[in-house]
Each structure stands twice: as structure tokens, then as C-alpha cells.
């Protein structure tokens, strides 16, 4: 830079660090790049899975039982098993999680030390690795002296434990979004606090609760780690037909196929991934639809 002459800036009137200075433009380009990479990754992931799985995207995949021949094997019991496990998980986790959230959000005294501890504890549980819930359920099974771990209800229990904190947190957020005036109005008309919650607050929060619960269930649907510990990796030649029935799930079936060396099974795993992704997309779109369609803004 010249130090002797007082030079007039070439572009007078434009500050050195203006909105379109090279630095600022480079910064914005870098931000764009970050998002671009993330979106590109998703596109490539889906494209690669579809291209790889397309040869086995057929009726046999949905209708056949798994077997030694990668051209014939199918994921029928795994798909049905996933549905059984997720339905059982939902029945266990949603009522419990919603009840706990109502207590914490509507009735518990937030200044009480114990209640604050419960809150902190829920936050911590949400970050515990999934496989630890598998270990917890595994030792519960050992404690009960069950020799057969491969039961729908056992697998569903581990997944219910896994998503319970998520459901509590999202339900609390949904309840918090209901304005206090609605509660005050209801109480002023003579309703008891519980009547207020059941007839006013909870119905108003249902869209938020439904969205949060569906997203939590879709996480459970894609999770394999705890079920792996609970003997979920079996070859079934029958359809799961009850809470005590043996089962395997779609993610476990994908794990099993992808850990085999033959390329044919990788194709099969990719095709099963397409089924799983389609199920998850359907659940996520339902959640987004409920959120956009029914959620009230106050």
C-alpha cells in the first residue's frame, strides 16, 4: 500500500467492508457451499440407493421370506415385524410420554428442586446412545429369567424407552405453545385444573404432539442397534403374529444383508433400504402435513 500520497479511493462512496466486498461475497459463497454439500449428499445418497436397489425392487422383495439366494430372498417378515414392533412401541411410549409431559408442564412446580432434577434427567436421557437402551432391556430380560429374548414386546420395550424422552420433550413444547389465556378462561368458568388440561389445553396441543410422536416413531422405525442386542437378527420363515412372537425388523434385515460379502446381498439391502426410506418419507410427510394443516397460531 502506498504510504506517501493520500490516494482517493477508486470507488468513492462504497465502504471498504461493504455488502459486496470480496470477503463478504466469499463468506456467503462458503455458507452456500455448506448447504450445497448437505443437500448434494442427500441427493446422492437417495440416487445411489435407488440405482443399486432397483434390480431387486420387485414383488418378491415384499412377498418372499429371506433365504440364501439373493435373487429370490425377500423382506416380508421384516416388514411385518417392523410394523408390529412400531405399533407396540407407540402404544407403550405415547400415553406414558404424554402423561409425563402433562405432569411436568402443567402441574409440577418448576421451582421445586426435585422437578428440576426430573427435567434435567429427561434431557440427559434423550442423549443416551440407543445401544445403552438395548443393554438396559437385555438385563431386564435376564432379570426376568426369560430364555427367549426374541419377542416383539421385548424389542418394542427397548424402542419405547429410547423414544420416551423425545416424546416428553416434544409434548412439553406443544403444551407450552398453548396460550395461558385459554387455561385462565377455562379455570374462570369453574373447570378444575385437570378438566382444563383434558378439555382445553390437550386438544389444542394435539397437532404438535402428533407431529412430535410421529417423528419419534420414525426414529424408532429406523433404529436397529438395541434390537440387535435383543436377538432381533434371526431368520424367520413365518410372519410375526403377536406380542410374544419372534420377529426381525427392516433395519436389522438391511444390516444383515449389507454385512455379507456377496454383492447380490448388497443389492438386496439397497432395495430394502428403499422400502424403509419410503415408509419414513410417508411418516415424515404425514408429520409435516399435520403440522402445517392443523397447527394453530395464537
Amino acid at each position: 500500500m502506498s504510504t506517501t500520497t493520500l490516494s482517493v479511493p477508486r470507488r468513492l462512496g462504497r465502504a471498504k467492508g461493504g455488502e459486496d466486498s470480496p470477503k463478504a461475497m466469499a463468506f456467503m459463497a462458503a455458507l452456500w457451499f455448506c448447504l450445497f454439500v448437505a443437500v448434494l449428499f442427500l441427493v446422492v445418497l437417495i440416487a445411489v440407493t435407488v440405482i443399486e436397489g432397483l434390480p431387486r425392487w420387485d414383488g418378491a422383495l415384499l412377498g418372499n421370506y429371506p433365504g440364501p439366494d439373493p435373487l429370490e430372498a425377500g423382506a416380508r417378515p421384516a416388514i411385518l415385524g417392523s410394523m408390529w414392533v412400531i405399533a407396540t412401541t407407540a402404544t407403550m411410549a405415547i400415553p406414558l410420554g404424554v402423561a409425563a409431559a402433562i405432569h411436568l408442564e402443567e402441574f409440577a412446580d418448576p421451582t421445586n428442586r426435585f422437578n428440576r432434577f426430573v427435567e434435567l434427567n429427561v434431557q440427559n436421557l434423550a442423549a443416551v446412545p440407543a445401544i445403552v437402551y438395548g443393554l438396559l432391556t437385555l438385563s431386564a430380560v435376564a432379570l426376568l429369567g426369560l430364555t427367549n429374548k426374541n419377542m416383539v414386546i421385548v424389542g418394542a420395550m427397548s424402542l419405547a424407552l429410547l423414544i420416551l424422552p423425545v416424546i416428553i420433550i416434544s409434548t412439553r413444547e406443544a403444551l407450552r405453545a398453548v396460550p395461558i389465556e385459554i387455561r385462565h378462561g377455562s379455570l374462570a368458568l369453574g373447570a378444575s385444573p385437570l378438566q382444563t388440561v383434558i378439555r382445553q389445553t390437550l386438544p389444542a396441543a394435539v397437532p404438535g404432539i402428533a407431529t412430535g410422536s410421529i417423528l419419534a416413531l420414525s426414529r424408532a422405525l429406523g433404529e436397529a442397534a438395541p434390537l440387535l442386542l435383543l436377538g432381533g437378527l434371526v431368520f424367520l420363515r413365518f410372519d410375526p403374529n403377536g406380542l410374544l412372537s419372534g420377529y426381525t425388523t427392516l433395519p436389522i434385515q438391511i444390516f444383515n444383508w449389507s454385512s455379507r460379502p456377496q454383492a447380490g446381498f448388497h443389492t438386496l439391502a439397497a432395495a430394502a433400504s428403499m422400502v424403509l426410506l419410503a415408509l419414513l418419507m410417508a411418516m415424515n410427510s404425514l408429520a409435516i402435513y399435520i403440522r402445517n394443516r392443523f397447527q394453530q397460531r395464537w
Binding site: A15, G17, E19, A24, M28, L31, C34, L35, V37, A38, V44, L45, V48, T49, L96, A99, A100, H103, V118, N121, V122, Q123, N124, L125, A127, V128, P129, A130, I131, V132, Y133, G134, L135, L136, L138, S139, A140, A142, P165, A191, L194, Q195, L215, R219, G222, A224, A225, P251, I254, F255, S258, S259, H266, A270, S273, L276, L280, M281, N284, I288
Partner: protein
């Protein structure tokens, strides 16, 4: 049942109402019956409220359950293997005749995958968060946020398969020509990093959106452009939330199981470089679960000892994150 009624009506059926002694006596000089202001007893409600309270306590029971379930088999384990040998031993061979339980190889593999994942997730996640919070027009935001949610919703087995067949075999080996086997911690770590991007992005975006606009306007009024405002005003103000986001990413990376179980390999050696394969703590637990281990055997207890180490690590990491948010949160 909850129709508004006149004091007369209430007086009339006070016989049927359960009369409770009120804390505050009825106003002097007026003829209110005792218990007029007390709520009617509703046994059904009391039971429902009690059940809700119990459900909230279930979370405490789960925590206690986790601690007990991990501790009891671990104590059995540490009766046979000394804590020092476990924590600092460099050979992991639990199923060999000459068994050895040094957890260092598992820890190095976990460190490598976590480190690689963070090197991917932190820049990408923060960049995405800054763009969404500070730059993106409303329409773009509305489009991009669901895409990030989809990225967060992809099952980890699908990520694992992608890491194994595409990232490792096609990209690293065929396109880039790296000399590496069928598995590597690099492929697993990279894909895991992208998996964590939505977590890092959404938590740190929330933190940046919580910074009041007055600060941005003040900065702009002093002549700063958006980049300077972001880097010198918004970023420092949201630092606690951003650090919490990164730490949350760490705990997810340490605990992630399926990606590493599929793509990082299964040989328990000390990992010296990103192209080597390695067995992480989580993938050891997942792999060991495939071989059926009898309840009470050393192999069974080993699972819980490694699980305990994993749980303690994630607990410490979370505690740091929560403490960080509490201590350094700027209240506006």
C-alpha cells in the same frame, strides 16, 4: 358439572358436597357456609393426577435402571479384569484363549470416527445454520429446513450401507485411488458427520435466532456488513448455544452404532490412520451381540463394561454441554 351456579344453589347442595375445612375462614359478617370456597373432592382426578406424576417419575426409574443394569455386570467383570488393565491395556481380544481386555483399541477407533465426523459436521452444520439464521429469505428457509429434517431422519443402517458401498468402495478406492481395504474409519466418520449436520445446524440456528435484532441493527448502524455482524456480534452472542450444539454432535458421534458396525470394520487394533479399519466401542457391543453370550459369562459382562464406559463418556459430554449453556448463556 362445572356450570356456573349461584351461591344459593351451592348452599342448597352443600349437604352432598364434601365439606373440607378451609385454610382461610369465610369472610366475617357474611353468611357463607364453611367449605363454600373449597373445591369439591374429585377422587378420579386425584388418581389421574397421581398417575401422571408416576409417569414423570418413570424417567428417573429409567435412569436408575440404566445405572444399575450397567453397574452390576460391570462389577462382575472388574472382579476378573483389573480396572487398570481394562482402561490402559492396548490389546482387545476377549474371545481368544489368551484373552485380553485392554479397551484402548476400541477407544482409538471411537476417537477417530468421532474426530472425522466432527471435522465434517462442525463446518457444514455451522455454515448451514448461519445461512439459515442470518441470510436465508423466508421462502428458502421453508424449503431447506425440511431437507435437513429428511437428512436427520434417514435411518443409520441406510447411511452405513451408503458408507460401505459408495463412499468406501467407489469414492475412496476407485475415484481417489486410496489404498484401503473393505472398511475404513474415514468412510464411516465422513458419513456419520453428514448424519450429525442437522443436529448441529438446528441447535446452533436456534441459538443464533435467539440473539435479539437490536444487536444486529446496532452493528449495521456502525457500518458493519452482514458478514462482520455475523462473525463479530451474532456468533459471540450465541456462542454458548453453538458450543452446546457441537457437544451434542460429539455425544451422538460417540454413541452412533450402525454406521460404524457396517462400515468401520471389525478388527480391534489400535487405529493409526483414517484409512485403517477399526472396532469402536459401540460396534463391539453390536458385533458381540451377534454371537450369543450366556447371561453371567465373562463375554456377557464385557458388553456391559464397555457399555458403562460409553454411558459415562456420553454423560460427561452432556453435562459439559448443559453446564456450558447455563454458565455462558447471555440473557437478553
Amino acid at each position: 358439572m362445572s356450570l356456573p351456579r349461584s351461591p344459593e344453589a351451592a348452599t342448597l347442595d352443600r349437604v352432598s358436597a364434601v365439606i373440607e375445612p378451609t385454610e382461610s375462614p369465610a369472610p366475617v359478617g357474611r353468611d357463607f357456609p364453611a367449605g363454600f370456597l373449597a373445591a369439591r373432592s374429585r377422587p378420579g382426578e386425584t388418581i389421574t393426577l397421581g398417575l401422571m406424576k408416576l409417569s414423570a417419575w418413570v424417567s428417573i426409574a429409567i435412569t436408575i435402571g440404566i445405572v444399575v443394569a450397567l453397574l452390576i455386570p460391570s462389577i462382575d467383570f472388574f472382579r476378573q479384569v483389573s480396572v487398570m488393565d481394562f482402561l490402559f491395556g492396548t490389546r482387545w481380544a476377549p474371545r481368544f484363549a489368551n484373552a485380553s481386555f485392554g479397551v484402548v483399541p476400541l477407544v482409538t477407533a471411537t476417537l477417530w470416527t468421532t474426530l472425522i465426523a466432527l471435522c465434517t459436521a462442525v463446518p457444514l452444520g455451522l455454515g448451514a445454520a448461519v445461512y439459515l439464521a442470518e441470510y436465508a429469505p423466508w421462502r428458502v428457509r421453508k424449503l431447506l429446513k425440511p431437507i435437513l429434517e429428511i437428512l436427520a431422519g434417514v435411518p443409520t443402517v441406510v447411511y452405513g450401507l451408503f458408507a460401505l458401498t459408495f463412499v468406501q468402495q467407489t469414492v475412496l478406492r476407485d475415484w481417489l485411488g486410496f489404498t484401503t481395504g473393505a472398511f475404513s474409519v474415514l468412510a464411516a466418520g465422513l458419513v456419520m458427520g453428514v448424519m450429525i449436520v442437522p443436529t448441529v445446524a438446528s441447535v446452533s440456528e436456534d441459538a443464533m435466532s435467539a440473539v435479539p435484532n437490536a444487536l444486529r441493527q446496532g452493528s449495521a448502524a456502525l457500518g458493519a456488513n452482514r458478514m462482520q455482524t455475523t462473525l463479530r456480534v451474532v456468533f459471540p452472542a450465541a456462542l454458548s448455544g453453538i458450543v452446546a450444539a457441537i457437544i451434542l454432535g460429539v455425544s451422538r458421534a460417540v454413541g452412533e452404532t450402525m454406521i460404524v458396525a457396517i462400515a468401520a470394520g471389525s478388527q480391534a487394533r489400535i487405529v493409526g490412520g483414517p484409512l485403517e479399519q477399526g472396532l469402536t466401542m459401540t460396534s463391539f457391543i453390536a458385533n458381540a451381540a451377534l454371537g450369543d453370550s450366556r447371561v453371567g459369562s465373562l463375554a456377557y459382562d464385557t458388553l456391559f463394561a464397555v457399555g458403562l464406559l460409553l454411558f459415562v463418556i456420553t454423560l460427561v459430554v452432556n453435562a459439559i454441554s448443559i453446564a456450558f449453556v447455563r454458565r455462558f448463556r447471555e440473557a437478553y
